[in-house]
Structure formats: structure tokens, C-alpha cells
């Protein structure tokens, strides 16, 4: 991919992030009533309210507030939690590994299961495998991931105690503890995406298999695994990759609920607590951080797409 395209993509991403920052900043401004009062709570004295107002800069004109906030954000200062007083960035980085483990595992599962199933269904179109996979995928799309987790927990954690039902263990505790805690939640989270990817991959693979160059490859004696690996995979992967970026956003959202069900202290839990505690700075930080992740992932996906598709590369 040539440099100017990459730059343009990065530029687009930056623009989007800036707009997100505007939106996030605007959120606090939208608080009904006096923001400082709302934050200070009912039992605060007028002095407290004034102090808060000054600290958070509410007494400044809006534009100035925004600049102050934005320059802080850009230098990595997302403010301090209104609840605990700790820097928001610290809270986020504490909570992030769990969420990222969950989300990355979920994507891996979604791609491995979904794309494989989709291609398998496309190869034997109309056969029983195809019909089974397509039906399962249709159901899978309709299932809320937290419900899937509850169903998975039943045999694995509730009725039998093979896997822990709740909690998170970081990788530093060892591979199996980490895996045993993350496996069920990640599977539940990834399954809905897997179902969608299966449908999409099936369509793309079926389209590729009908193309003339597949016939040419067959005429050269290519068949089975060779045909799939060399001819189908790359061409079918291209449209699938483009959807992957969309899925990440949805997975981040879904992870919020999964964390709640699985008792994982990640970003989602942080966000929910922040809402219940009216910790607006943390909420802002969380929204901004999520957006950054999604934009970054989309950028990577774009670049990946450009690398895989030689037409864009030239």
C-alpha cells in the first residue's frame, strides 16, 4: 500500500476521533440542571459545589473548557475519577487487560469457528452440512451473548464444576488459570459474531467457487485442501475482513454485559460502576478509550485489507 493511502486513512481516523472527543465532551454539558450540583450530590455545601465547579472548570466559557479538556486528553490525562480521585487513565489501564483478553479471545474464536464453518458450508452447498450450519448460524445471530454464557455455564460450571463460573485470572497467574476463566465468556461473546461471520463467509466462498478461475484451477488438477488454501481462502477472506472491524465494536459492547455475568473486572464493569456512581470523568474516559480502540482496529483492518488485496496494493 502506498504511503498516501495510509496517511489518508490515518487522517480519517484522527478526524473521527476528534469528533468523538467533541461528542464525549458534549455529554457532560448535557447534564440536566447544574452539572456541578449534580456531581457534588445532595449533601454538599455551597462551598463544595463551588469548589467542584472551579476544579472541573465549569465556570469557564465552554470553548475554553473544551480546549482545556482536549489538551489534557491529548497528553494522556483523562482527568481524575470523581468517585475515587484516582487518575482515570490508571483505572482504565487496570481494567483493560481483562477486557482485551476477553475480546481478543472472542474474535479468535469467532473467526476460527465462523469462517471455517462458512467455507465448509459453501463447499458442500445444499448438502446436510450446509443446511445445518446455515440453520445454526441463523439461530446464533438471534441469541443474546449473555444468555449463551448462562447456558454454557449450566453444564460446565453450575451443574458440574469443571470450569470456574466467575472471575478473571491474568496471564501472569499461568496459562491454564487464565484460559479456564476466559474460555466460556469468550466463547459466548464470540458465538454471535461467529454466526454472522459464518453466513458472510459462506456467501463469499460460494461466490468465489462459482468464479471462472476456480474452474481453471480445477483444470490444472487442483482440488480439496490445495484449492481452498490457495484459491478460495484469499479471495473469500477479503470481504470477510472488511466486516471484522464492525464486529469489534459490537464485541466491545457485548463484553460489558459478559463481564457482568462472568464477574470479570474489566472496562465494562468500570463503566457500569461509573454510571451508578455518577463518575462522569470516568465515563468520558471510558467512551473515549473505546472509540480509540475501535478506530485503531478499523485502521488495522483497512491496512490488512490493503495488504491482502493486491489490487489496492499496486
Amino acid at each position: 500500500m502506498n504511503g498516501s493511502v495510509v496517511l489518508r486513512r490515518i487522517g480519517g481516523g484522527v478526524l473521527v476521533l476528534w469528533l468523538v472527543s467533541l461528542l464525549t465532551f458534549a455529554l457532560i454539558q448535557l447534564l440536566p440542571g447544574d452539572a456541578a450540583q449534580a456531581i457534588a450530590g445532595e449533601n454538599a455545601t455551597q462551598a463544595d459545589v463551588d469548589r467542584i465547579r472551579h476544579e472541573l472548570g465549569f465556570d469557564l466559557p465552554v470553548i475554553e473548557q473544551y480546549f482545556r479538556w482536549f489538551s489534557n486528553v491529548v497528553t494522556g490525562d483523562f482527568g481524575t475519577s470523581l468517585y475515587s480521585g484516582r487518575p482515570v487513565t490508571e483505572l482504565i489501564f487496570e481494567a483493560a487487560p481483562a477486557t482485551l483478553s476477553l475480546t481478543v479471545m472472542a474474535i479468535v474464536i469467532a473467526v476460527l469457528v465462523g469462517v471455517t464453518a462458512g467455507i465448509a458450508a459453501a463447499i458442500r452447498q445444499g448438502g446436510w452440512l450446509d443446511r445445518t450450519i446455515t440453520s445454526l448460524a441463523t439461530f446464533g445471530i438471534a441469541m443474546p451473548s449473555f444468555w449463551v454464557l448462562m447456558l454454557l455455564l449450566l453444564p460446565f460450571a453450575v451443574l458440574n464444576r469443571w470450569l470456574p463460573a466467575t472471575g478473571y485470572a491474568p496471564m501472569s497467574d499461568g496459562l491454564w488459570p487464565w484460559l479456564s476463566h476466559i474460555l466460556l465468556p469468550a466463547t459466548a461473546l464470540g458465538l454471535a459474531s461467529a454466526a454472522e461471520l459464518a453466513r458472510h463467509a459462506r456467501g463469499c466462498a460460494a461466490d468465489v467457487l462459482a468464479r471462472p478461475y476456480i474452474r481453471t484451477a480445477r483444470a490444472r488438477g487442483a482440488t480439496g485442501a490445495w484449492l481452498i488454501r490457495r484459491h478460495v481462502l484469499r479471495n473469500a477472506a477479503i470481504p470477510v475482513i472488511t466486516v471484522l472491524g464492525l464486529h469489534v465494536g459490537r464485541l466491545l459492547g457485548g463484553s460489558i454485559v459478559i463481564e457482568s455475568v462472568a464477574g470479570i473486572s474489566g472496562l465494562g464493569t468500570l463503566a457500569i460502576q461509573a454510571i451508578l456512581q455518577r463518575d462522569y470523568t470516568t465515563i468520558q474516559g471510558y467512551v473515549l478509550f473505546s472509540a480509540i480502540i475501535v478506530v485503531l482496529v478499523n485502521l488495522v483492518v483497512d491496512l490488512l485489507y490493503g495488504w491482502i488485496n493486491p489490487k489496492v496494493r499496486a
Binding site: 438471534a142 443474546p144 472509540a291
Partner: protein
């Protein structure tokens, strides 16, 4: 492949035959068993929701604490929850929210997305660029995260949560409407219409809307399903529907709390959710496949 040589294809119908073809689209839809079942289920759901007081065997909020967490029995077909309330009755009453909540979101999405999409598709220009960027921005926020933020500001509650989701959905609807409008705008009959002096409003009503109806409806059905799942998630977290109201999502939360005592309690509400979302998706798929087939034939 030469196989296509053997099939004499008829001429493709002009895209502008939407009006004439609309009744036969419905007819072809009715011939698909999956559509009939799915649409039938949705109609059934509407009836159940409307007639809830007549159908529910018990008062959904009646607590009989001696009968907590009982399994299915003749008096409680789906068992009782942790406060002794009849699950079936609660399920029936919650059907109302299952239909209303997505409706709120989708209405917001339509109000925001459709006019913008129409404009962007017809007029292009700077409006297109601006709304495009805005939509990209909204799409880059994880939907639920944004909804959480809005709920944080406006306070928990079903209405707020659903409006937030509606804002999150608007970009996808905008994209679909814009794309479909662009495709229609490029048809030459639009040019002819303008050439004979049709006003833009007339062009929209008479030519554009009927032809974008299909992709629009497909997207709406998808959004209804997604909205329902989002409502379930938010209510599960306690940020959507607030007590004493309950939706299937909040019922799931109760069931989850009591997982160890009543493992199967998660099934009723979850199944209801899955069936409803499945029905929405199937209806959307059926519309999409039917219209595509007619265009190709």
C-alpha cells in the same frame, strides 16, 4: 459457464415498477414458509401483548413467597421466580415492552437516518460529506458503550436507553437509505422526471420511496432485533427498564441471580428473546431474498 446458454432469460423488469409489483411481492412472500412462520409469530406476539390481562393466568406482580423458585407445575406452567411470581404471566406482560422498546429505538433511528439518507443520496454535496463523517463517527463508537454514556447523563430508564440506541442505529439506517437512494437516483427515470418538471418532493414520494422500501424494511427488521437484544442487555444490567416494570432482559437478570438454585430458570425469557429476534431477522431475510429474486428474474 455454458450452462447459462441453455436458459432463455426473460427481459429484466424496469426498476421503476415498484408500485405495480408491490402486491405480488407480498404474494411471493406469503409463499415462503419461513416468512409465514416468522411473521405469524410476530403477529401472535402483538396479540399476546395486547391481550395480556386476558391471557396471563396470574397477576404478574403477585408475590407468593412460599412458592419461590418452583419448577413448572399445572398452576405455574413456567414456574415461579425468586419472589414467587408466575413466570408465564410476567413473560406475557413483558411482551409489551419487547415490542415497544425496539419501536422507540427504531423510530428515533428513522427520524434521524431517513431524511439524512434521502438528502445525501439525492443532493450529494457538502451535506453528504458532513453526514457521512458524522455517521462514521457514531459507527466507531461501540453502541452499547455510547448508550451507557447517554444513560449516565440522562439517568437510567427504558426510554432514555432506547433513545440512545436509536441514535446509535441511525447511521446504519442512514447508510442503507443513502445507498438505495443513490442507486435509484442514477436510474434514468429520475432524470426524465426532473426533465418534465417534477418537484423534488414528488420525486421522493412517487419514485424514490417505493424503490428503497425493500432495503429500508430489511434494515428496519434487523434493527428491531438488535434493539431488542440491546434492551435486554441494558435491562439485565439494571440500566434499562426500572422496577416495578420488567422486561425479558430484567427477568433474565433475576434468573441469573438464582442460577444455582434454579438452573433452568434462564430458559423462558431467553427463549422468548431468541424467538422474537429470530422472527425479525427471518422476516428481513425473506424480504431481501424475495426482492432480489424478482429483480433477477
Amino acid at each position: 459457464m455454458t450452462a447459462t446458454l441453455q436458459f432463455q432469460a426473460g427481459p429484466a423488469p424496469a426498476v421503476g415498477t415498484a408500485r405495480r409489483g408491490r402486491t405480488s411481492t407480498v404474494a411471493s412472500l406469503m409463499r415462503r414458509p419461513s416468512f409465514v412462520v416468522a411473521a405469524g409469530f410476530l403477529v401472535f406476539l402483538v396479540v399476546v401483548a395486547a391481550l395480556a390481562p386476558l391471557i396471563a393466568p396470574h397477576d404478574p406482580s403477585a408475590q407468593v413467597l412460599e412458592d419461590r423458585l418452583k419448577g413448572p407445575s399445572w398452576s405455574h406452567l413456567l414456574g415461579t421466580d425468586d419472589l414467587g411470581r408466575d413466570v408465564l404471566s410476567r413473560l406475557v406482560y413483558a411482551a409489551r415492552l419487547a415490542l415497544l422498546a425496539p419501536l422507540i429505538s427504531v423510530s428515533v433511528a428513522i427520524l434521524l437516518g431517513v431524511p439524512a439518507g434521502l438528502w445525501a443520496g439525492l443532493r450529494r454535496g457538502w451535506v453528504d460529506a458532513v453526514t457521512g463523517r458524522l455517521s462514521d463517527t457514531l459507527l466507531s463508537l461501540p453502541g452499547l458503550a455510547f448508550a451507557l454514556a447517554v444513560v449516565a447523563v440522562l439517568g437510567p430508564g427504558l426510554f432514555n436507553a432506547m433513545v440512545a440506541m436509536g441514535i446509535v442505529f441511525a447511521p446504519s439506517l442512514y447508510r442503507v437509505v443513502r445507498g438505495a437512494t443513490l442507486a435509484v437516483a442514477e436510474e434514468s427515470y429520475i432524470e426524465s422526471a426532473r426533465a418534465i418538471g417534477c418537484s423534488t418532493r414528488r420525486i421522493i414520494w412517487v419514485h424514490v420511496l417505493p424503490n428503497i422500501a425493500a432495503p429500508f424494511l430489511v434494515q428496519v427488521t434487523i434493527l428491531m432485533g438488535v434493539a431488542l437484544l440491546a434492551e435486554a442487555s441494558l435491562s439485565f444490567l439494571g440500566l434499562g427498564v426500572q422496577p416495578p416494570d420488567s422486561s425479558w432482559g430484567s427477568m433474565l437478570e433475576v434468573a441469573y441471580q438464582n442460577q444455582y438454585d434454579a438452573p433452568l430458570a434462564v430458559l423462558p425469557a431467553g427463549t422468548a428473546l431468541v424467538l422474537t429476534v429470530l422472527s425479525f431477522n427471518t422476516v428481513g431475510d425473506a424480504i431481501r431474498d424475495t426482492v432480489a429474486r424478482r429483480r433477477d428474474s
